[in-house]
């Protein structure tokens, strides 16, 4: 079978089958690149950000892009590859000048750092060598996820009153070795896999956004494919966070961190591409070697005509052990054959949404995920859920109640009530209705041990740029690059 995009005179054999069309490798790379570049040039702000602006000595005109790169996210790898090709073109066409520089940021955990560093360094090194220029077009940053706790000076103890779902907080300063870690949060607080993943994801996003703010970036390029975006949208709906969809997809407004206006906008350059297309691109460009869990990725379905697609999600995994996002991903995979346009429909529908009208007295943000709160979730939940018991009627019931009070369970409940009472007394006096969004309230109420979570006050986050593990890595990379550069000369 031949490629349907090549010039008729020299048609190459097709290797990829996508959207009912056959492509050769070259045409497919072109197809994916164009889709991404179209998003990068979607409005004036981004056009000015990426293009080379003359006169060249105007430093302000150099766009500063933050590209969160993860070795477990194929989208970010493909995005970097296409951005890199654009940089190469600009260098060639504009006499060794580019319109923007790229800060590559990787968030790592203690245990995966050596592998992550090795993979990401070798990828960026390869890219730098191709650029054939010793300028700082790329800057590489590594941030330990525990910086989420280390870079904040205050934490809040959040507790939910299981009688009326009101949230109470108690703030305190932290310092020295008194810091929380991701392992503690995952192991001691989270009761299931889904809450663990949700909190980790919130931490990563907050770190990336605060880094962009501190580093003065103009845009964050997220590597979400159309499939991934649809998965996130439906997952937000399922988690009771439907009101956040419009803000999540907003690429027109500047972001707003802790009510501090930011200089950056969010961009989803891969939003026109399906995940299967990204997997195919990875295989063609031989980028899969940089992925962690590459063997899994190799078995991910792609639209390659030469390979038999196989389902990516582990079929052995029990539904109970899956996260909401994984179940949604599985749902999309299951219905993709019969209802192929579902993924694009979800995204198109979500793009038509806007923020709901807020009925809060004063604008407030969720203390966990930092999203806007539009209505009081405690009141809503209290209106639809009754928590008062049917009265005790007989002596036997009275006897059993006393037994319960004296038991460990009763004592644990007394302990919870004492803790609640303490925090209620020390409540920091802020409005009762501005603590958590609905989704995080449910998370705290159902998936966190003792309905009590200690969480950093993100508005006290500071010094993130200085805490990056970049200096040593970057100097090593530059050192290697310069040697090669000299050799070439």
């Amino acid at each position: 079978m031949e490629c349907q995009r090549c010039h008729v005179s020299g048609r190459k054999p097709a290797t990829v089958n996508s959207r009912k069309e056959r492509f050769c490798d070259e045409c497919f790379i072109n197809f994916v690149s164009i889709k991404q570049r179209k998003q990068m040039m979607k409005d004036e702000f981004f056009r000015n950000l990426f293009k080379v602006v003359y006169p060249l000595d105007q430093k302000e005109s150099i766009g500063k892009i933050l590209l969160p790169l993860s070795p477990s996210d194929s989208g970010s790898l493909v995005m970097l590859d296409i951005v890199h090709d654009l940089l190469l073109e600009q260098l060639k066409q504009h006499n060794n000048h580019t319109g923007f520089t790229v800060d590559v940021l990787t968030i790592f955990t203690e245990e995966n750092f050596p592998v992550v560093r090795e993979r990401m360094e070798s990828l960026v090194k390869e890219k730098m060598l191709e650029l054939n220029k010793t300028s700082n077009i790329y800057k590489v940053h590594f941030i330990n996820i525990n910086e989420f706790f280390n870079s904040t000076s205050e934490v809040s103890s959040l507790i939910i009153d299981d009688g009326n779902f009101e949230i109470f907080t108690k703030s305190r300063s932290v310092g020295g070795g008194n810091r929380l870690t991701l392992d503690e949060i995952s192991g001691e607080y989270c009761l299931n896999n889904s809450s663990r993943t949700d909190l980790t994801s919130i931490m990563k996003v907050q770190l990336i956004k605060h880094f962009a703010y501190e580093n003065g970036n103009n845009a964050i390029m997220w590597g979400h494919s159309m499939t991934k975006l649809s998965e996130v949208i439906i997952s937000l709906v399922v988690k009771g966070k439907g009101s956040q969809i419009a803000t999540f997809l907003d690429t027109e407004s500047f972001d707003n961190l802790d009510d501090k206006p930011c200089n950056y906008k969010n961009l989803y350059p891969m939003k026109d591409l399906l995940s299967v297309e990204i997997e195919s691109f990875l295989q063609i460009k031989n980028l899969a070697k940089y992925l962690i869990n590459a063997e899994e990725t190799n078995s991910k379905p792609s639209c390659s005509v030469t390979k038999n697609p196989s389902p990516s999600l582990d079929k052995q995994k029990l539904v109970k052990n899956m996260t909401i996002n994984e179940i949604t991903n599985k749902y999309f995979q299951d219905i993709q054959n019969d209802y192929s346009n579902i993924i694009s429909t979800v995204l198109r529908t979500a793009d038509k949404l806007t923020e709901p009208i807020s009925n809060m007295i004063k604008p407030s943000k969720c203390q966990i995920c930092q999203s806007k709160i539009y209505s009081n979730p405690s009141d809503w939940l209290d209106r639809i859920t009754v928590t008062s018991p049917y009265p005790i009627e007989t002596n036997e019931e009275e006897y059993l109640f006393k037994q319960w009070q004296d038991s460990k369970l009763g004592q644990s409940h007394t302990h919870y009530m004492q803790l609640l009472g303490e925090i209620k007394n020390d409540n920091d006096g802020s409005n009762k209705d501005d603590k958590l969004c609905y989704g995080c309230l449910i998370l705290l109420n159902t998936s966190i041990k003792d309905k009590n979570l200690i969480w950093p006050k993100v508005n006290t986050m500071n010094g993130l740029v200085n805490s990056t593990n970049n200096d040593r890595e970057l100097s090593q990379i530059l050192e290697q690059f310069e040697i090669n550069s000299d050799l070439e000369e």
Partner: protein, 359 residues
């Protein structure tokens, strides 16, 4: 030797462990895990909580007015049976001052609706409520069995949904009632929110979680007091209150795409039992961007309260959906038929019987 009486194995008191106690009252043995939040509850607490939550929904949304006549859409199934029971109970307990009438629609599905209508008739006796039955045959001159024989089984839900909705309104209007209450539950609501997003049905997106729906030109309003009640809890309540309901699912196949959404929700519930109300909460907060005005494009604007030029029923188009479907059906109706032909009757029942056959 003295005689020792054996212990009485029947009347021996059962010792309840503390860990087995209800998580609300801590004084009775828990019998169920509440589907909404998996808390362990005793029968008394569960029923009390379930009834109070529905009462709270009714009061918070100001669903009923004193002196109002209410038609309960009664199919004989679990939702409508519990609804009829619940409204009668709460009306007496909290003195809403409403008059309740059971309103049933006979779609003409032999082997399914005739059996469920028998349940509704028993409910009428049990609750002492008046009952009115309207049939598709009388209103449209078609039964669902006849429609399926002409239009096929795949589209059965489309026809049934459109005609039943209109029949309830027509039936209520004939009885001089302006408020129809239906047994749509939280699962139905959440499913609709998801389906509207997955299908991109923007027109219905914002209104998909409304507890009261009414078009400006219509005298009939509809409400859903079970908006926040889980289907499983309705079934459990019916079980504990020993309510008489018809539990067989409609014999015609459910829509395939809806089936996938149901399966998806079932998986979600295994991980996050609260997901059903969470989806409703999301649905209540979905707002659409204002449409960009396009001067060049001539748009026929939808006016709430438009009437069908054929039957006079509310419609956003020149003719209503029911008349449009009927027109199509009439074209496909056989010109010649056998007198007293009953071959189309109970097609669904036969299909079910065939499915059960094994070799």
């Amino acid at each position: 030797m003295s005689f020792t009486a054996p212990s009485d194995p029947v009347n021996k008191p059962v010792k309840v462990k503390v860990s087995q106690l209800c998580e609300l009252c801590h004084s009775r043995k828990a019998l169920i895990r509440r589907p909404k939040n998996l808390s362990k509850l005793c029968k008394q607490c569960f029923c009390s909580v379930f009834e109070t939550e529905i009462h709270n929904t009714i009061v918070a949304n100001n669903l009923f007015q004193r002196g109002e006549r209410i038609a309960v859409g009664a199919s004989g199934g679990k939702d409508s049976t519990v609804l009829a029971h619940m409204l009668k109970l709460l009306n007496e307990r909290y003195d809403y001052g409403i008059e309740i009438v059971l309103l049933s629609i006979d779609e003409g599905i032999v082997g399914y609706r005739d059996d469920s209508l028998a349940t509704v008739k028993r409910n009428q006796q049990q609750y002492g409520l008046p009952l009115e039955i309207f049939s598709f045959k009388d209103l449209y001159n078609w039964t669902m069995d006849e429609i399926v024989s002409v239009a096929g089984i795949r589209n059965s839900c489309t026809y049934c949904g459109v005609f039943r909705r209109q029949s309830l309104d027509r039936g209520a209007a004939k009885l001089g009632i302006s408020h129809v209450v239906t047994g749509h539950n939280a699962d139905d609501m959440a499913e609709t929110v998801l389906m509207n997003i997955l299908r991109g049905d923007v027109a219905r997106l914002e209104k998909s979680t409304a507890i009261i729906t009414q078009s400006s030109g219509s005298p009939i309003k509809r409400s859903k007091p079970f908006k926040y009640s889980y289907q499983k809890e309705i079934v459990l309540y019916a079980h504990y209150m020993k309510l008489d309901y018809f539990s067989t699912e409609c014999t015609y196949a459910p829509e395939a795409f809806r089936g996938t959404a149901r399966e998806y929700m079932k998986n979600l519930e295994a991980v996050r039992p609260s997901c059903i109300v969470d989806i409703i909460q999301s649905g209540e907060n979905l707002a659409l961007k204002a449409k960009k005005s396009n001067a060049k494009k001539k748009v026929v604007k939808f006016v709430d309260g438009n009437r069908c030029s054929k039957c006079g029923y509310l419609s956003s188009n020149i003719i209503c959906k029911a008349c449009m479907l009927l027109e199509g059906l009439e074209k496909s109706r056989a010109q010649v038929s056998i007198e007293n032909d009953t071959s189309t009757e109970g097609a669904a029942m036969k299909l079910r019987a065939l499915e059960k056959l094994s070799f």
